[in-house]
């Protein structure tokens, strides 16, 4: 009992099986998360080590180098880079794709443990964390307030952060620029000395006064009372009246020697939202959680909690990364629906029958839905890649059903009953249907084996197309015959002809006849056709040099982030002023910017965000959200370009950098020149030279050096002998200097369950010049007071703020972004320039950045094409049992690329990985059409039809199916190629390349393959049979003649 016979015999079972599949698919679909791309977690692990108080170069030799050497042997490590700055060493390990990070983490921990004892004593245990794109904040909010601003930290903490943290999938909610309450005790050193007190004594008094102590219990009568000594301050003003000493019999109050301020912490980070005071908070999702879902829940929660906040507190959305994802996906789903409609229309026009169209079209949702089951089980998501894969597959899934249905129709028209026709007609074609499916699988299955970043995208395409095509074949040999048996009827021919017959069929017949004539013509001038095709191919290859290459198309995500840098060491106030001016320009000249948040300076407590953004008192950051692309005339790049020109007019800006994507990791778009060398001065000089040369290239923008210019420092050089005379050690002296300048946290002031630091320090007037510093009083072991200048010298000094390593060597990177040209073109230009740069012997230079990634993935793609082609050849050679026939078919593949190149050239689109996806698809379609055509020609030759007649008849009979596949796919791609909404930049290149390639390759398939067949396959199976007959004839006639003797 064959599968199609059972299917026809048991229509209810068949129907139920497919219903079950659809239900499972729809369930998967409803559970599936939405995302922009498949999960492309870059396999990065960072090792962060702090060494408080050590300078960058100290840490480099004592920590970073030792750790790097130890970590270098970790399995599957691709590259090791590090940044060493004051107090901190950050080592980033990049792994090969698909590395198990859990395993790698364990290995890293072992490696660190082995060398930990060799590290200096004060080094903290290195922390390891897995860094991935999903750690990028997904929602940014701005919060503004008027009168509640000073107390906002508490309000936020209780009413916002806690509530948002409870949402499933939220990893962390972090704030930037929140005001922090602090009780400052600013000490006047002169008065202190006059009363013979020290700062440390004050701190001791405060901490011993601010105290609650449980003191046992007392039994009185029937009761047992707990006894407590209650000394803690209720109000911060109490500090003022604290007696800190005794002078001449009179008490000395704290207010006599210091001013007490219960205030906000000194600002080192300034945060403005749309130009007014505010702060930013952002939500990070857990790795693996779904961006869209988490963002939606966060938005809902924020809406709810707004009513619980004081009326002057306003929360506004700066950026929601899920917006772009949602609108991209809905745009793409819409184009997919159009593709579906077009397929139905095409099938209807070609078949001209409602029932047949319905039966065929039914295979589309079934095949597509099965891929949802796969995605769901694989933990995948609905994303741009999976949806474009579906739109690729949509035109191909109907092919098998059409072949089966046409044969069934033929049987019915010959008078068979639908039921029998369904069984026997399917029996006749099921094998060839499966073989053509195998060919398509041979093209797409190798995609599932690609590694690397491209692999993440291509794997999904490979699996989805493979699965949908296989499903469509199964449906074609079960569901299609079953439905045909139930619904197809013999249709009597009317004399006048139906509307369809008069309009479409007549034109289709005309097309058939036109094609027949052209084919006969081509067969007469076979060699001219082949040579002509070759000429066109070579011409198109020469056009290739005008087509640019990109890794991933840049997308207009409606956001611009400007990072600007002033002279190193600039005060935060100066930086703020510049940021204000730029904000003003944006506000006044760009109505497209709907929200804006900026920060200047650095939060000295670090915080999560410092991992994502460079910060420093001289650095500012402006984040702008624009309105939707369809509502504005300028795209983000134009706006960024204009702003860039405006920023050039600020002389105080050292560098500035524009970022238009939220992308992190692989999606950066820079060409990097890496300069390796130990000596800072030599590499700096080379870097400056290269930077100057690159800046001269008009297409290069945002040219940046990775190494910051040396930072001015004040160093207190202690004279150890003099210190010893006073009985002090370096540590004691250093601690005293720190207490007086940075401050000493004496105690904690508690109010309503929250704790605030009480910090003692010198009043600002006594610690803001060199001479003030020298006048700082130190207390010796004997209680004597000496000035800092007696035991030390304060000198000014320049040091590198950070040292970067790559492959365990010092490196300095010059990076540039392309403007109006593709990444590949810029890289070529820069490479050309590099030839003229004078490089000293000890310095090594290499190219890197996104350009390198791009080359790697193109190399991957190239290899993949080779594997695909080889597999296709293997399948075809064994199917035809011939080496020539695969050659005839494969000869036409390069011409598909001619169409791709032409289309890219004409529409001025760059060749990106996504356009490459389209090219792979073309191989599939060309080969499939070629096989069916050659196979049918072979069949006719076997039936003793003469060569040219067989070629023409086969071509004519295959014209409509080939046109159908081509038209369904092309029409399915038209919405993709024409769409202009969010995210369309990603899939537009694919639409363009597939349309161009398919138009061209359809013509090639229908003309060149028959011509090649005519040239190469003169002898068919008939010839072999005749040879065999001749042989046997010889043997037998010999035998007979001997008998007759």
């Amino acid at each position: 009992m064959s599968i199609y016979k059972s299917a026809v015999g048991k229509p209810i079972t068949t129907f139920m099986v497919f219903t079950a599949i659809i239900v499972m698919g729809l369930y998967s679909l409803s559970k599936m998360p939405i995302d922009l791309y498949p999960e492309m977690d870059p396999p990065y692990i960072s090792v962060v080590t702090t060494y408080p108080g050590a300078s960058a170069s100290d840490i480099e030799t004592n920590v970073t180098k030792i750790l790097e050497d130890a970590l270098n042997n970790v399995d599957k490590l691709k590259e090791i880079t590090s940044t060493t700055s004051d107090n901190l060493s950050l080592i980033v390990l990049e792994f090969d794709w698909e590395t198990d990070l859990v395993e790698a983490t364990a290995e890293i921990r072992d490696a660190i443990d082995r060398v930990y004892t060799y590290l200096p004593e004060d080094v903290d245990q290195p922390t390891i964390f897995k860094f991935s794109t999903s750690m990028m904040p997904i929602v940014f909010y701005a919060l503004t307030a008027d009168e509640s601003f000073p107390g906002i930290e508490k309000i936020l903490d209780e009413k916002v952060i806690n509530r948002l943290n409870r949402i499933e999938g939220v990893a962390q909610v972090a704030m930037m620029g929140q005001p922090k309450r602090m009780v400052y005790v600013d000490v006047d050193p002169n008065r202190l000395e006059a009363y013979n007190l020290t700062l440390e004594q004050l701190a001791g008094t405060i901490s011993s006064e601010n105290l609650n102590m449980p003191s046992g219990s007392i039994k009185m009568g029937l009761m047992d009372y707990q006894l407590r000594v209650q000394g803690e301050f209720d109000e911060s003003v109490e500090l003022k009246d604290l007696v800190v000493g005794n002078y001449g019999g009179n008490p000395v109050f704290l207010s006599d020697v210091a001013s007490v301020k219960d205030t906000l912490k000194d600002k080192t980070l300034d945060e403005k939202v749309n130009g007014t005071d505010g702060l930013r908070f952002f939500v990070m999702k857990q790795s693996g959680a779904n961006t869209v879902k988490v963002a939606r829940q966060v938005q809902e929660e924020v809406k709810k909690l707004q009513s619980d906040l004081p009326s002057d507190v306003k929360i506004s959305l700066i950026m929601d990364t899920s917006d772009f994802i949602k609108s991209s996906i809905s745009n793409l789903s819409e184009t997919l629906m159009y593709a579906f409609l077009f397929v139905i229309l095409v099938v209807l026009v070609f078949l001209g029958r409602w029932r047949a169209t319905f039966i065929i079209v039914l295979t589309i949702p079934i095949s597509l839905i099965v891929s949802f089951i796969y995605l769901y089980m694989d933990g995948g998501s609905i994303n741009v890649i999976s949806l474009t894969s579906l739109s690729i597959a949509i035109g191909m899934v109907v092919d098998d059903a059409i072949v089966v249905l046409e044969n069934i129709t033929r049987h019915i028209e010959r008078g068979s009953r639908p039921r029998e026709a369904a069984i026997y007609a399917t029996n006749e074609v099921w094998q060839s249907v499966i073989i053509t499916t195998l060919v398509v699988v041979a093209v797409f299955f190798p995609l599932t084996l690609v590694g690397g970043m491209t692999g993440v995208m291509f794997n999904q395409l490979g699996w989805i197309v493979t699965i949908t095509i296989i499903t469509s074949t199964i449906a074609a040999i079960t569901l299609t015959p079953m439905m045909s048996a139930l619904f197809l009827r013999l249709r009597p021919r009317t004399v006048k002809g139906t509307f369809y017959e008069r309009v479409f069929e007549r034109n289709l017949n005309r097309l058939d006849n036109f094609y027949e004539r052209s084919l006969r013509f081509a067969l007469r001038f076979k060699w001219s056709v082949v040579i002509g095709a070759l000429v066109i191919f070579i011409l198109s290859i020469s056009l290739m040099q005008f087509v640019g290459t990109d890794f991933m198309p840049q997308t207009d995500e409606s956001r611009i982030t400007i990072a600007g840098e002033l002279q190193t060491g600039t005060r935060v106030e100066e930086t703020m002023a510049v940021a204000r001016k730029i904000e003003k320009i944006i506000r006044e000249e760009y109505p497209e910017v709907v929200a804006m948040a900026s920060s200047a300076g650095a939060d000295d407590e670090g915080g999560m965000f410092s991992l994502f953004q460079e910060s420093g008192s001289n650095i500012f950051n402006i984040m702008c959200r624009l309105n939707f692309p369809r509502d504005r005339e300028k795209d983000v790049w134009t706006i960024a370009g204009e702003l860039r020109e405006r920023l050039a007019q600020f002389p105080e800006l050292v560098t500035y950098n524009f970022e238009t994507t939220g992308g992190f990791g692989g999606t950066s778009n820079t060409v990097d020149v890496e300069i390796y060398g130990y000596d800072f001065n030599t590499t700096n000089k080379v870097a400056e030279q290269i930077k100057k040369a690159i800046s001269a290239v008009p297409e290069a923008v945002d040219v940046k050096l990775s190494r910051d210019p040396d930072k001015p420092e004040l160093q207190v050089k202690l004279d150890k002998q003099k210190l010893a005379v006073h009985g002090l050690t370096t540590a004691q002296a250093a601690a005293q200097v720190r207490n007086r300048v940075y401050g000493l946290t004496a105690s904690l002031f508690r109010e309503e369950g929250d704790e605030y630091d009480i910090r003692l320090r010198l009043e600002e007037d006594y610690r803001n010049s060199l001479s003030d510093l020298e006048q700082i009083t130190l207390v010796t072991a004997q209680g004597n007071k000496i000035k800092l200048s007696e035991v030390s010298k304060v000198v000014e000094y320049y040091g590198p703020p950070s040292i970067q390593h790559k492959k365990r060597e010092r490196v300095l990177t010059v990076s540039a972004k392309p403007e109006k040209v593709s990444l590949g073109e810029l890289a070529e230009k820069i490479e050309l320039i590099m030839k003229d740069v004078d490089v000293p012997n000890e310095v090594m230079i290499s190219m890197g950045g996104a350009y390198k990634e791009q080359q790697e993935s193109f190399a991957d793609l190239g290899l993949l094409m080779m594997v695909s082609l080889l597999l296709v050849f293997i399948v075809m050679a064994s199917q035809f049992e011939s080496f020539r026939m695969p050659f005839v078919i494969m000869f036409s593949i390069p011409f598909a690329f001619t169409g791709v190149i032409l289309a890219l050239f004409l529409t001025n689109t760059t060749l990106s990985v996504v356009a490459g996806l389209g090219a792979v698809l073309l191989i599939g379609i060309v080969v499939k059409n070629g096989i069916v055509l050659v196979d049918f020609t072979n069949l006719l030759r076997d039936r003793d039809v003469p060569l040219n007649e067989a070629i023409v008849a086969a071509g004519k009979s295959r014209l409509r199916p080939v046109l159908m596949t081509a038209l369904t796919t092309i029409l399915g791609m038209v919405p993709l190629a024409l769409s202009t909404g969010e995210g369309s930049e990603i899939w537009r290149p694919m639409g363009v390349s597939v349309i161009g390639g398919l138009i061209f390759s359809t013509v090639i398939t229908m003309v060149l393959i028959p011509t090649m067949y005519g040239i190469f396959i003169k002898k068919g199976e008939t010839f072999k049979r005749k040879q065999l007959h001749a042989q046997m004839e010889g043997v037998l006639s010999n035998q007979i003649s001997e008998q007759s003797k």
Partner: protein, 97 residues
């Protein structure tokens, strides 16, 4: 008693069954999936890629009076569409057990 040997395109299977039922022919022997070709216009039925269709064959031994209606039906069936193909051949049965 005569025997009728019918070879036919598989697609006729159900109709043959119908005719047998209608003429109340109970006994028969059938070969499913047999190969062959017609002598005049019939295409080969080989079940191969080139000639994918297949025939079946049936032989039945029936009283003389049923032979004529049977052949009539078969001719009618053939005339629906000559491409499908069906032929019947009649032998005399001299003895039977």
């Amino acid at each position: 008693m005569k025997s009728v040997f019918i070879t036919f395109n598989q697609a006729f299977t159900e109709r043959i069954e119908f005719i047998f039922e209608k003429l109340e022919i109970k006994g028969f022997t059938r070969w499913v999936d047999v190969q062959g070709a017609g002598s005049v216009t019939g295409e080969p039925r080989n079940g191969t890629h080139t000639w994918p269709e297949m025939n079946s064959a049936i032989i039945t031994v029936i009283p003389d009076e049923k032979v004529k209606p049977l052949l009539q039906y078969i001719k009618a069936l053939d005339e629906i569409n000559l491409e499908v193909g069906i032929r019947a051949f009649v032998w005399d049965i001299t003895e039977a057990y």
